[in-house]
Amino acid sequence: MAVINLYTAAQVQNALLRGQVALLLISQRIQSQFLYFNPLQYSTFKDLQYDIYCLWVVCTQEFSYVDFVDVPDTYVYQYFELVGALIEKTKQVDVFGAYGGATNPNYVPPAGGTVVVVNPSGALNFVKSNNIPFNTDHVILANWQTLYAPLYGQNPSIEIFTDQGGVDQRDTQTAPIYNYATPGDESTLLQSIEWTYFGTTDGYYTISGVVPGSSSGGGSGSGSSTYIIVPFGSPNISTDGDGNFVYTDNRLIGKSGYFANATMLTQMLVDGTDFTSNPALGNMTITNPAGFTLVPGSFLIIFVN
């Protein structure tokens, strides 16, 4: 009998979240690269999408019936096998960056250094809005590496700062993003960030670190670049009367003139000139002439130089 991994509830939730992201990615790739696929590539993508979807539906449906505490019975073993299959299928999405040339044509490589800011309450909303069971003892952030195609293959190490109210730093701990390149380690396949939830639902979690191996092109030439990832539901993002996005963050107070551009997943929203910053208020307005809206599951990614 093959060795079966005994997953915790949190690990299964992670796998479900990864599967969901993988579905979004496959859809994006099929649509953006449709004209360039040969029939075999298209069929491979389509079948993989269906397989992941079926596994995701079944594993989600059965999640609440699985007893993660007692000694597993046959049903639970079968369930864990399906979760393992879901993880294996999801792994195949991770190599898309080198598969069939399916990369985002709109991508402009960031500069070497990267800072990622994620608001966890938004991430929570993102998860709940999609009906994935969520353990409130943990914060699980969607994997920003695979949410945004250009960051494929990057394996940054990160530090996490809890930042209550956006001002005071409370705690720091290191949590490397799982490295899917390491074979034989199931935990490296999940591609998401997880750590014990030790704060309140208010405030910020700041993730900062360095992405090695990214291109030195683009950016401001200073050798560093910053992302701010703003998920749907984040209290930091709002819209003004003209439909433009307004991003507010206390950490921006006193800073000016460094906002480069913003994208929503793969859709380039504005270029480097279509924004205004207000250092006094710590906010910036990103013009949105096309009228894009943040919907559940979407992220606004703001590049800051």
Partner: protein
């Protein structure tokens, strides 16, 4: 505080039974002591009562607030009504609660078993078998969704037909 009668459907791992929980907000002028009888009405898509159960079904408080329906052999589209008979009728209180459900556990277990066969087999499956298992799972998922959608329009017949088609797909899938 007015009484609002409500009932909740609780599916179980075993698809042959499910539970119904009385979630009414008893209290104030409408405590349980003010209710003389509590009954359940469970009607199938053709308007008939659930097999092996009378209509209405006595649901006395002495048995608790959870009622177990057992003996199911397939998923069903059901109109479930919880009726309370007050001793003193208070204006503003609602003594009847209804939910429309399409049980899914047989279809979900079918999807589960097909996926177990597809993904957990120790022997490699043919491309044909993989395709059959993949497409049948998708079709069952679609029928399950169709059953729920039909309920949104109170189309119990359509909902039951979708559940039956899903069950037929399961029965016709060779594992």
């Amino acid at each position: 505080m007015s009484l609002i009668t409500s009932i909740e459907y609780l599916p179980q791992l075993d698809p042959s039974f499910f539970e119904l929980q009385d979630t009414s907000n008893y209290g104030g002028s409408d405590p349980k002591a003010n209710i003389s009888t509590r009954t359940l009405s469970i009607l199938q898509s053709d308007g008939t009562a659930l097999p092996n159960y009378p209509n209405p079904i006595a649901f006395p408080y002495s048995g608790g607030d959870v009622f177990t329906i057992s003996g199911l052999t397939q998923d069903l589209a059901l109109k479930i009504t919880l009726s309370l008979t007050p001793i003193v009728n208070h204006a503003g209180s609602v003594y009847t609660g209804e939910i429309d459900i399409a049980t899914q556990r047989f279809l979900q277990q079918g999807e589960f078993n097909i996926q177990v066969q597809k993904n957990n087999s120790t022997m490699p499956l043919s491309a044909y078998a993989n395709s059959i298992y993949r497409n049948n799972t998708m079709d069952i998922i679609i029928e399950a969704e169709n059953a729920q959608t039909a309920l949104l329009y109170s189309d119990f017949t359509g909902s039951q037909a979708s559940l039956q088609r899903g069950q037929n797909i399961i029965n016709n899938t060779q594992l």
